[in-house]
């Protein structure tokens, strides 16, 4: 089933400037994995080295964070749209 993923401005450099990408997937997890397959350069910004989705990448289904639904297992149906929304984090500590 075809899902539309809306891409935040910061990551459009990895989607040929496209604000949204159509992917295949039955769950949020599958849809994001397909995005990484279609746009491989985006993967390092979405996933930790261990393959987990980066903690500051949030996925919204409508105006609801999927963390408040079934997380990455949230089911999707044909024609659904999800939005990648970054949380911006940081802070002082040991300097490079």
């Amino acid at each position: 089933m075809t899902i539309t993923i809306q891409i935040p401005t910061a990551l459009r450099a990895f989607t040929d400037r496209q604000p949204e990408v159509r992917v295949e997937g039955a769950t949020v997890e599958e849809a994001i994995a397909d995005l990484a397959r279609i746009c491989p350069d985006i993967a390092q910004h979405l996933y930790e080295e261990n393959g987990a989705l980066r903690s500051f990448i949030n996925v919204y289904f409508g105006d609801v964070n999927v963390k408040n639904l079934k997380g990455l297992e949230t089911p999707l149906k044909d024609g659904d749209a999800i939005i990648l929304v970054p949380a911006i984090a940081g802070g002082g500590g040991i300097c490079p």
Binding site: P8, T9, A10, L11, A13, Q44, H45, S55, F56, N58, Y60, N65, V85, P86, A87, I88, A89, G90, G91, G92, G93, I94, C95, P96
Partner: protein
């Protein structure tokens, strides 16, 4: 290059001093130029630090709900989200490993040192494409350039 007015700089310094000894954070609004490597920061949009109170002395987060609101406001006003600022209370204005691990490409990151309650050094950075490091964008004192 991003043009950085004295008014914007002053506003960031004030936010840093207000939040001390905790970290302040917010969004730089303005307009990009021909590409994402140049633009003009026209104003700041302070955001409440979303971290737990006991962590705010060395951590900040702009929660996704807040980010969505700011982005919608910016779009509605024809402005771009150029990047973000935050303070390092009693700590150098250098990006930490934690900053790098949580940063996104494309955006400018501005860091302010607040030393004993007084705003000091302000620096600008951009994440390298391979995420391995930040690239400093020196401040131009005369022209207020990043």
């Amino acid at each position: 290059m991003i043009t950085f007015s004295a008014k914007v700089k002053s506003a960031i310094r004030l936010e840093g001093e207000r939040a001390y000894p905790d970290e302040c954070c917010g969004v730089l609004l303005g307009r990009f130029g021909e590409d994402e490597n140049c633009g003009e920061a026209m104003e700041i949009f302070p955001v409440s630090n979303g971290r737990e109170a006991e962590e705010q002395y060395h951590r900040f987060v702009i929660q996704p709900d807040d980010f969505m609101k700011v982005e919608m406001e910016a779009r509605g006003r024809g402005l771009d989200v150029l990047g973000f600022y935050h303070s390092h209370p009693d700590h150098p204005a250098l990006p930490s490993d934690y900053d790098r691990e949580h940063a996104l490409p494309f955006y400018f990151y501005v860091i302010l040192t607040v030393e004993k309650g007084q705003a000091r050094t302000l620096t600008g950075w951009k994440l390298a494409a391979d995420r391995a490091r930040f690239i400093q964008k020196p401040l131009n004192e005369g022209g207020d350039m990043l």
